[in-house]
Structures are given as C-alpha cells and as structure tokens.
C-alpha cells in the first residue's frame, strides 16, 4: 500500500501565489512572521492594509483573524496581536499583509467535485465574502451551479455566460470571464479538490481581484506535484503532532478526544469501531487505519503513534483479515509491546486469514483474543472505565 497521506489544505498566501501564476489578479501582499516585518511591508505597500492570520480554518474573519491598519504602526500592532494567538484552535504563525481593496461588489467563485455527476462543478454567487454554505442553505436561489463536462472543460463561453449572469457586459464581462477561466486552469493543473475565490472583488475602478483564495489539493495526486508533496511534509499545518507523525509514517490517523486508542484494518471498519465504542459509553482517542495487508513495520509504527497520545488508557486492535494476515498482525503486536514496553491493557479482536496462527502467537504472550467486535468493544470500554 502506498503511503497514505491527508489532503493538503493550502494557506491563503499559497493559494494566491498559485492563482497569480495563472494570471488571476491578487492584491499586492507579503507573508511575514514577525511584527517588525509587518511594519516594513506596510511601509512599502499602499495604505490602508489588511493583516490576515494565515490559518487553515474557515471563518477566521469572524474569529478575529483579519485586522485593518491605516499606518505601518497599526500594521505592526495588528501583526503583534495575531502572531502567536489562537484562531479556532490553531496557532497563528504567519500573517499576510495586503493592500486593502476599494470594494464595490463581492462575488463568489469556486470549483469543486460533484460526486453524483462524477465531474467538476463551478459554483457562483453574487453574495461573496460570506460563508457560501450558509448562502446555499438560506438563499439557494443566489447560487448558480454549472457542471463541467469532462469532454469540454470550462471554456471561455461558459465563463462569459457566468460573467453576464452576474450582470457584467463589454470589457468587464471579458475581464471577469478571463479570470474565471484562469482559475479553472489552475484548478485542473494543480489537481485541486477545491479552489475558491471568496470574495472575488469588483473594485471601485471596476477591476476584478481575488481578495481571498482557498485551495485544497487532492493528496492522491501529490505524486505528480513534487513541490507540494514535499511541502506537506515540512510543517504541521492543521494536524496535531501525533497526526503529523502518522502522516510522515504513511499512516491514516485522526486524533479525537477520548482514552481508548483504536487501530484496525479498513477505514469503514475503524469508523464502525469508533461508533461502537461511543455506543457502549466509551470515548475513542483516535482513528487509525492500517490499510490492507499491513506489514510488521506498519503495525509497530501504528502502536508507536497510538502510544504518543498520553490520554490513551486502553488499546483496542480490531482486525478482520482478508489480505491482512492475522499472524503478521500478532507478530507486530508482540514486537510493539516489547519495543515500547507499554503496560496499558490491550484488547485484541483478531479474525480472518491465518487466524489460528495469529492467536497461537498471542496466546504464547498471554494475550487473550476476541472473536466478536462487539464483545471486544465492550471490554475495552469496561477497562477504560475502570481506569478513570
């Protein structure tokens, strides 16, 4: 199994760099990591400026992550306030200092995947600058959607139609259409799962500028985007340290809030395991999928990650082996126990290919094995409860 990775959410400044490369106008800006730098940049840019926290969450404006500055001093203060602060649970490590646009109108343009129709879809609205999902709920008539036929792609006439639909004519229509086309091209070239410009601003002068941009890259395509594949391994972004460690080890791991560490083979099976723990009154500490046919090394790495979480009181292994070999899993468990010397109770459910061999191996180490997922889950919940 290839290295499993998480989809790659890009920061606003990274997304803007990409679309700018494709010719989409973006405000003059620079990303900085100190308040002194923020001040310097504000001196060079035309005032007023906007100082924007670079964090991978939606709604950072409402959460206080976007501040305005009329002078370089104010920009410095704004940066000082934001840097190191927390916006929706994420620490702000950099801010984007950007020229404030004289806004006439705010539009929304996004491209994402339509699962039912098995193609990309362009989503447009003249209610830009707000949560598009809210608009979709409360004012669906304000959203225009266009399925993008894979044969045709998103062409200039599609873009013109949309620009006209937004009320533009003549040069403005052409300028806007051109930008939409370029955004689409960027989306296709970088293998984005989502590309959004919200808001796409019409300035007082009648020009169009992407005031904010958001791109989520399809991590399954990172093998053909070396630059971004490497980027993903360089910083934690919105992953916890444990999740980032898992990412680097090619493990599919999501941190949760409970105390029962879970690992299994198969995402659906693991999700069902978490649901079952909750149903029986326990709290899972994480999601961790070994994937199919896991090797000894992989299992060891999985245990290591599980044990990194200090909240974990009990470990629950749920294996229904098809191409995954129960004896390999058993060996992996023994090895991990030896290596990491964990004294935490281990609840093991092991059925499937080479099950008898696997159970023998575990029996030799005095480790009991469950047949039933339900029984094992109940035991894990019971043990965690006893340890509280």
């Amino acid at each position: 199994m290839q290295g499993v990775v998480f989809f790659l959410k890009l920061y606003e400044h990274e997304a803007k760099t990409i679309i700018a490369t494709y010719g989409v106008p973006t405000p003059k800006s620079e990303v900085v990591t100190t308040e002194a730098q923020a001040r310097e940049v504000a001196v060079r840019l035309a005032l007023p400026v906007v100082v924007k926290a670079q964090v991978l969450v939606a709604g950072r404006g409402k959460a206080g992550g976007i501040l305005f500055a009329k002078t370089p001093e104010e920009a410095e203060d704004a940066a000082k306030k934001l840097l190191g602060s927390q916006i929706k649970g994420l620490t702000v490590e950099k801010v984007l200092v950007e020229e404030k646009l004289p806004v006439k109108r705010e539009l929304y343009f996004g491209i994402t995947v339509d699962r039912l129709n098995r193609c990309y879809i362009a989503v447009v609205s003249d209610l830009g600058g707000v949560d598009i999902e809210e608009v979709a709920q409360s004012q669906p008539q304000k959203i225009y959607k266009q399925l993008i036929n894979p044969e045709l792609g998103f062409r200039s006439f599609h873009a013109r139609r949309i620009a006209k639909g937004l009320g533009y004519a003549g040069d403005q229509m052409s300028a806007l259409a051109d930008i939409l086309e370029k955004a689409y091209k960027a989306n296709v070239d970088v293998d984005a799962e989502l590309l959004e410009m919200n808001p796409l601003v019409e300035t007082q002068k009648g020009e169009f500028v992407a005031a904010d941009a958001r791109i989520i890259l399809d991590d399954n395509a990172l093998f053909r985007h070396e630059e971004y594949r490497l980027k993903q391994l360089q910083e934690e972004r919105d992953f916890s340290p444990e999740e980032f460690e898992a990412l680097k080890n090619g493990l599919d791991y999501v941190m949760l809030e409970g105390d029962i560490g879970v690992v299994g083979n198969g995402a659906g099976l693991v999700m069902a395991t978490l649901d079952m723990i909750n149903l029986y009154g326990g709290k899972p500490a994480n999601f961790l999928d070994l994937g199919g046919g896991a090797s000894l090394q992989r299992i060891e790495a999985a245990f290591k990650i599980l044990l990194l979480n200090p909240h974990v009181k009990v470990l629950f292994v749920n294996i229904l082996g098809g191409i995954t070999l129960c004896d390999e899993v058993a060996r992996g468990i023994i090895q991990a126990q030896t290596q990491f010397g964990s004294s935490k109770p281990l609840v093991i459910r092991l059925v499937g290919t080479n099950e008898a061999k696997g159970r023998r191996i575990l029996a030799q180490a005095d480790l009991p094995v469950f047949d039933s997922m339900e029984e094992a889950a109940k035991k894990a919940v019971q043990l965690a409860g006893e340890m509280s």
Partner: protein, 265 residues
C-alpha cells in the same frame, strides 16, 4: 479468484508479456489479450499513478465491466475515467473497492470468499473490511447474499448506491438490499430519495459508519469527510429512515433487521 471459479483468461502486465502465471498467459497489452481471448470483465490492481491508464486501456479494448481495486486514484483521473466509460457504454466498479462477488458463482475482487454465502440479500457498500464484517454476520445468521457490490470509498466512483439499487431491483435472486454507507458526500441521501420516489419494491436496510467522526477531518477513505454540515451520518440516517429504510446501530444489527423482515414475510 481462480480458486473461486472465476474464469481468468489472461493477465496484462506491460513488460512481462509471454510468461504464464498459474496457467494464465500474460500479455503486454489489453488488445493483444483480447485478440486471443474473450473477456467481458477486467480487474485492475495497478498502482494509483497508473491505474487510470490501465483502465482506459481496458475500456478502449471494449471491456464492458472494469473493477478498479486500486486506492488513491486521483480525483481528476477518476472524473476522466467515468466520462470515457460512459462513452464506451461500460461500467466501472470502484475505484478503491474490494470488488464484486456473487457467492457460489463468481468473484472479481479481493474479498475473502469464506465469509460470504449464497442467498438472496444484495449488498452495496462503500467499505472493504466493514463489508466483510457484515457479510460474515449475515452468513453466520444463515442469511446468504445474492451479490455484494463494493462501490468504493472514493468521492467519484463508477456504480454508486443508486445504480446498485437499480441492479438489485432487476435481479430476481435479490429479495432485500443492504446499503453500507459512511460519512461524506450525499449519495446515501440521494439513494433515499430514489427509494422514496420509485416506491422501491424491495426492503432496504442500512448501516452508516462514522457517527463519531469530527468535522473537517477525513476518516481514511478519500470520500469520508464531513465538510461543514454536509455529509454527516445523522443526515444520512435521517434521510434513509424517512424513506422507510431501517438503519442498524451496529454492524451486527443488519442481520437482526433482515431476520425481522423475513419473520414478517
């Protein structure tokens, strides 16, 4: 698959043409294989960067059912594949699927055959091992399966739940349907709508994994993610129940729900 009785007539592995594996001749290209052997299905195990290529090749050669086992196929590739498959009037199963099995008859996939038994419950699932879990539980309870379709865990797939429901509707061997869904997307909600609108003639039960999943984090499958309010387990369960689909709380609950149905017949 061979052990199970599936007739594998040829293998394709570029560069390895000329060898034989388990009595099966291997070719460099699908067209060569197709010249010498008749096949109506293909199964693709090729690694993700090349899976689309292999599938295009099979489709171009006229294979009408292609099962793509491969996980991590880029979304863009999947979009292109589905479009071409439609053009070629072919069906794709997957990607990121364990495949298809008609117990007792044929297996085109990687599922462990011993948890399945022939019967009359059709199963369509977005999962791999969770499907085996539920199938095993059904088999243990004496409830056999007509056909199990792995629709796969990706956001863009070939046959989906609605296609599966249509297939099972037409299949005389299938008397009831099990949908194994999960968070992410709205295919369960759309299936519920289909069931309601069509007054679906066979009973449907379901299990939806991922009630405990947090927003914004992907749970393994490329398609398993709750974005904002969209794609929650709650929304799927509500939609299905509103369409008359009974939804189990646990994987083993499916067997109970079906047994109850059989009891009332």
């Amino acid at each position: 698959m061979q052990e199970y009785g599936t007739q594998i007539v040829a293998g394709i592995s570029p560069g390895k043409g000329g060898i034989t594996v388990n009595g099966v001749p291997v070719y460099d290209t699908v067209s060569e294989a197709h010249e010498s052997h008749e096949a109506n299905a293909s199964i693709v195990f090729v690694p993700a960067p090349f899976a689309a290529e292999a599938t295009f090749e099979a489709l171009e050669a006229g294979i009408k059912t292609v099962v793509v086992i491969t996980e991590h196929v880029p979304v863009k590739d999947a979009v292109e594949l589905m479009s071409y498959a439609k053009l070629m009037d072919a069906k794709i199963v997957g990607p990121n699927t364990p495949g298809v099995i008609t117990p007792g008859k044929c297996k085109v996939g990687i599922m462990p055959a011993n948890v399945f038994a022939a019967g009359n419950v059709g199963v369509a699932s977005r999962s791999g091992t969770l499907t085996y879990e539920i199938a095993a539980s059904l088999t243990r309870t004496g409830i056999g399966q007509s056909t199990c379709l792995g629709v796969g865990g990706d956001p863009v797939t070939g046959i989906n739940f609605i296609d599966s429901l249509k297939i099972f509707r037409e299949d005389p061997q299938t008397k009831a349907v099990v949908l194994i869904g999960e968070i992410g997307g709205n295919i369960e909600e759309l299936a519920a709508q289909y069931i309601l609108e069509e007054n679906y003639p066979k009973p449907v039960v379901a299990y939806i994994a991922g009630r405990s999943a947090p927003v914004g984090k992907r749970m393994g499958h490329a398609g398993a993610i709750v974005m904002g309010k969209a794609g929650t387990a709650e929304s799927k369960i509500a939609a299905l129940e509103a369409a008359g689909v009974r939804v189990a709380q646990n994987p083993s609950g499916i067997a109970n729900l079906l047994a109850q149905l059989q009891g009332t017949e």
